[in-house]
Symmetry: D2
Subunit: 316 residues, 4 copies
C-alpha cells in the first residue's frame, strides 16, 4: 500500500492531496497542519465528499504525526504565501516565516520515526531542504526538494510556446536555486532533439528572454492568482511516483551537491531511496560559474539557520 | 476531440480545469472570466506549467466566447464565495450577486452559438440553472445543474462513515434544492444492498442526524477552508464525462421537473444530450411533500428573476 | 509500494499484468509460470517495451516465488482454456487440468511465505479457491475468488442493454457457482433504483432470458475469441484495488459461506484483509434454494480434491 | 467526443481496443473485421462485460464501415501473425498476406468517407502505410504508421536496462524500416542527457549489441508468446492521443520522406492533422547512408503493389 503524508495544507499541500486522491495514486494519506488543523479537517472532508464519485478510494487521516512512521512519502509544504505578495520576485522574502516553521516541524518528523522519502516543497526550497535533511537525521538520498523540477517545467513551457510544440519535446535543465539565481543551462536544452542554441541562432531568438520568462513564470502565476499550485503539485507528485516505482527517472530537483556542499537544483536520478545519483552534465564555463554562484548563495543562507554554521555541517 | 469551456475561474472553476487537465479528459479548454481575466490567465499559465510533467496535453485558451461555438461542454461556475461567509447555511445569500452575474453571462453564451451541454455549478444552483436554460435558448435537456449530485455524494460519505464502508456501497438519492430545503430520500437509500431504514432501526441510528450531517457537509468544508472545491469539481467533471461518453448514467442533478415546473435535484439519466430522462422513484408521501415544498421554493425565487414571471415561462 | 504477483501468464494473467502496468497500478510485478516461463519472459519484455510510452513505471520480474514473501496481492490464473473448447458451457471440464495444477502451485505459494491477499481466477473458481485457502494456510479472509464478480458484471451488461442505460445503473448480484448453477438474484436487482421485477412486469421482459444471457455471456465471448480476458482481468484488478485501498467495497465474489461450508459467489465487503464480511441479503425462498444447491455442488466437487474429504476440512 | 475505428481485431487490434476502453480514452469505438466478425463481436462483448467495473463508458459498435465517416482516428491492424512463425526475423514474410488484405480494406476506407487521421499498424508497416495513403486519397499528413515508434521504445528499453534507468531517460531515435534494415541513430541518443557514444566508450559498451537487441526485441516477444501486443498497442494509442490533443508531440513514426519519396521511420511532430512535420536531425554520414538504404528497400517493395509503379506515384 502506498502511504503518503503531507505537512502543511495550504494551496500546494491541498492540491497535492487532491491530485493523489483524484488520480488514485495514494492508498492512505495523512494530512498534518499544526497551524491550521481546521483547514486540514476541511480538506479531508472535501476530499472524502469527492470519493463517492471516484473509482478509487484513499483513506485520509488528520493530525497524527505518529502515522508517518510507516509512510512511504512525506511532502513538506508549509509556508506563508502572503509573505511573497510584495516580494518582487524574491522567494527569500518567505524565509523569515519558513525558517521558524521548519524548526517546529523538523523535530516532529524525526520523532515520528519516518523512514521514507521526504520531498520538500517549502521555500526557499534548497535551503529548507538541506535543513530538513540535517535535522531529521534522514539519509541524504532520502531528502530532496522540488527545486528546479518546476523551473525546468516552466522553461520547457516557455520554449515549447516559442516553437509551438509539446513541452515534452523540450529536454534539458534549469540549474541552481529555486529562486532568482537559477539559470537555464541552454547547452543542455534541445527542442525535438535539436540544440536550442542552434535553433535560436537560426531564428534570431533571444535565449535570455526565454530564460527570464521561465524564471518569472512563477511570479506571473502568483500575480494573477495570489499563489501557485497546479504545476508545483504536479511536480511533487511526479517525484513521489518515481520513488514508489523505483523508476530511476531523470528529474532535476534539489539534491545534495558534493562539489558545492549544499542542496541545489540539478539533474538527478530518482528511485526508491530518493536521489539515487546526480548527473554531471558538461556545462559551459559560464554555466558552471552561475551554478557555483547560485549554490554559494544557498549555502550562505543555510548557514544562518540555527546550528547550521559551517563546522556543524556533516554530510551523511 | 473533447472541447470544454468554463465560465468563472474561481476555486471551483479552476479546480475543474485542473481536473480536466491532470486526468487528460479535455483536449481543448476555454477559460472565461470577464471579472477576473488576470486570474484566468494565471490559471492557464499554472496549468500549462504542469504539462511538461503530464502524459497528456490540453490546449488552453482564455477569454474568447466565440470559442464556445463548437464546445461540447460548458461549465458555468461564476460566483462570489465571500457572500457566504456569514450566511449561516443559506446559499440564497449568494443570490444577490449571482442573479446579476448570470444576467451578464447568459446573453454571451447565447451569442457564442454554443450548442453543447451546459452544466451549471453556480448557486443557488437550481434557480440559476433554470434561468440559464430560459435565456440561452438551449433545449431543456442540454442544461443541467450539479444540484444534489454533490449533496448525494455527501450523504453517501456520511452514511459510509457510519457503516465503515466505501461510499460507493451507498446507493440512493438526495432530492430537492441544492440548499437548505433538500432532503435525503431515505426510502431510496441502501447500504451494501440493504435498506438503510432497516439497518438504522436495527442499530438505533438516527437518520435525521445523518441527513443533517449531509446537508451541513458543505458548510463544514466552507468553515474550514473558506470555500468548497474538490468534491464539487469532481461531481461536475463526472457529469460531463457521462455526456461525452453518451453513458446514460444515473446521476441525481438539477433537471427540469414537469410536475413542479422548475429545475430541482432529482435522479436523472445523463447521456449525450444531457438529461435523457428523469427517474420517478416511488417516494413516501412525506418525501413527496418535502420534494414539492423544495421545488416550490426554487420556483418562487426563480420568478423573481427579470423576465421569469409566471406567464413568461415556457418549457421547451 | 504496491507489489503484485501473478501465477499463470496465459490470456487472463497477461491481460491482468497489462492492466496493472498500463494504468500505473502496480509498482512491482512478479510473473510466475512454471509451465511456460518462456511466455512469462515474453510478456515481461512486451510490457517493458511499452514503458517508454507510459507515464508510470512498473518493475517486472519473472520466475522467483520467493519474491511473493512481501507481495500485497497474488493473482492465481493458471488454467488450460482449450479444455473448454468443446465444453458446451461446463467450466468443470477444466477441472481435470486445474486440479493437478493447483496441487503443484499451492505448496509453492505456502513455501514463499506470502502473507498478502490471494485472488483466485482459476476455474472452477469456487472449488479451487477453497482448495487454495486450505492448502496455503492463509487466513480465510485473505483468500477469495473472482467468482460471480464477473457474472454480476455480465448480468449488469445484459440488463443495461435491455434498458439502454449504463451498466453501473444496474445494482444487485449474481450468486452461486462461477458456473452453470449460478443464478441472478432478481430480488436484489434494481435499474436506476427501481426493482427489476416491477420493470420487467411492466414491460413484459422475460427475466429468465436475461439470466440465461448473463450466464452464457462468457461462452459467447469464448466461442468468438477462444478465451475471455478483458472483463475477467478488469474484475480481478478491481478486487485488488479494493484490498490495497482498504476500501470496504461491496463486491460479489467467491467467499467462504459459514452456512454452506464452502466458498461460493455472494456479496462481500472487500478491504485490506480481503473479505471483511459477507452481506446477507434477504433472498426469496426460491433464490435461497438455488444458492444452497449451487453451494452444495461446489462443496461436493471440492471434497474430491486430495485431502479435502469431509472430515479433513477445518475452517479458519 | 472522441471516436475511434479499428480495422482488424486480432491481438493488436483487440489490445488497442482494450487500452482505449480501460483507460477511458475513447468515447465511441467501431470494430471492423470482415475476415472474423465473430471475433470482433466477441471482443465487443468482452469489453462491454468489463464496463460495469470501469469508471468510464465507451460505446462499441461492430462491422459498419459507414461509422468511420465522422471518426477522429482509424487504426488499421489487420494481418496474419502466423505468417511470421518461421520468418526468422523477416517482417516481409507477412507481405504476401497483407498486400492482399490492404487491397480489400483501402477502398472500404475510402468509401466510408473517413476524414480523420489513419494510423497504420499493419506489417510491413512503411510500405502498407504508403499504400494506404495513396489509395484512400487522404492527405499525406493524415496517414502515418507506427513504424519505428515501437522500435525506438525497444531501443530505449534495451539502453535503459544497460544503465539501470527509466526508459524515459533515454532520448533519441531508431530510423528506417519497421523491419530488419532499421537502425539506431546513436548520434541522436542520450541517456540522462549524456551522449550514449561517450558513455559507451567510457564503459566499454558495444552499441552494435544494443542495436541488435533492440531490433530483435520484437522477435524475442514473438518467440515467447506467438505475437506482440502490449507495446505496439501502447504506441498506437499514444500516437492517437497526440492527434486528438493537437499535442505537436515528437514521435518517431512512419511518415513520408520528401527526400526519399517513401514512408519511412523518422522523427516527426504529431498534431491534430497527423504528421505536422518531420524533424531533420544531423545524422552522421554512416547513419544517413543506412537511412537511404532502408528507405530504398521500402520504396522498392512499395512499387510492387498494384498501381504503385514508379510513375504512378504522386505525393500529395
Amino acid at each position: 500500500m502506498r502511504k503518503y503524508g503531507i505537512i502543511g495544507v495550504g494551496h500546494v499541500g491541498a492540491t497535492t492531496a487532491y491530485t493523489l486522491v483524484t488520480k488514485g495514486i495514494a492508498d492512505e494519506l495523512i494530512l498534518l497542519d499544526d497551524h491550521n488543523e481546521a483547514k486540514a479537517m476541511a480538506e479531508k472532508l472535501d476530499l472524502e465528499d469527492a470519493q463517492a464519485r471516484l473509482d478509487t478510494r484513499t483513506r485520509i487521516k488528520v493530525g497524527d504525526y505518529a502515522e508517518l512512521a510507516d509512510a512511504d512519502i512525506l511532502f513538506v509544504t508549509a509556508g506563508n504565501i502572503h509573505a511573497l505578495d510584495n516580494a518582487s520576485g524574491n522567494r527569500w522574502a518567505e524565509f523569515s516565516y519558513t525558517r521558524e516553521i521548519v524548526q517546529d516541524i523538523a523535530p516532529k518528523i524525526k520523532a515520528s520515526g519516518f523512514k521514507g522519502v521526504l520531498i520538500d516543497v517549502m521555500n526557499p526550497c534548497d535551503c529548507i531542504t538541506y535543513y530538513l535533511q540535517q535535522t531529521t537525521g534522514l539519509p541524504q538520498s532520502h531528502v530532496l526538494g522540488t527545486g528546479t523540477f518546476l523551473d525546468t517545467a516552466r522553461m520547457q513551457k516557455v520554449v515549447s510556446d516559442q516553437f509551438d510544440v509539446d513541452p515534452k519535446n523540450v529536454t534539458g535543465y534549469v540549474y541552481g536555486e529555486h529562486g532568482e539565481s537559477q539559470f537555464s543551462a541552454w547547452s543542455t536544452v534541445r527542442v525535438n532533439g535539436l540544440p536550442i542554441k542552434e535553433l535560436a541562432a537560426d531564428k534570431d531568438i533571444d535565449l535570455n528572454e526565454l530564460e527570464d520568462a521561465a524564471r518569472r513564470g512563477g511570479w506571473a502565476v502568483h500575480s494573477g492568482k495570489g499563489y501557485t499550485s497546479y504545476a508545483i503539485a504536479t511536480c511533487a507528485v511526479k517525484l513521489s511516483q518515481a520513488v514508489l516505482a523505483d523508476a530511476n527517472l531523470a528529474c532535476p530537483c534539489s539534491a545534495f551537491s558534493e562539489k558545492y556542499q549544499t542542496y541545489v537544483g540539478q539533474p538527478a536520478i530518482i528511485g526508491k531511496d530518493g536521489v539515487v545519483s546526480v548527473t554531471e552534465l558538461p556545462l559551459t564555463a559560464a554555466e558552471e560559474a552561475k551554478f557555483k554562484r547560485s549554490a554559494g548563495l544557498i549555502r550562505e543562507k543555510f548557514e544562518t539557520l540555527p546550528g547550521m554554521a559551517k563546522k556543524a555541517v556533516k554530510t551523511a
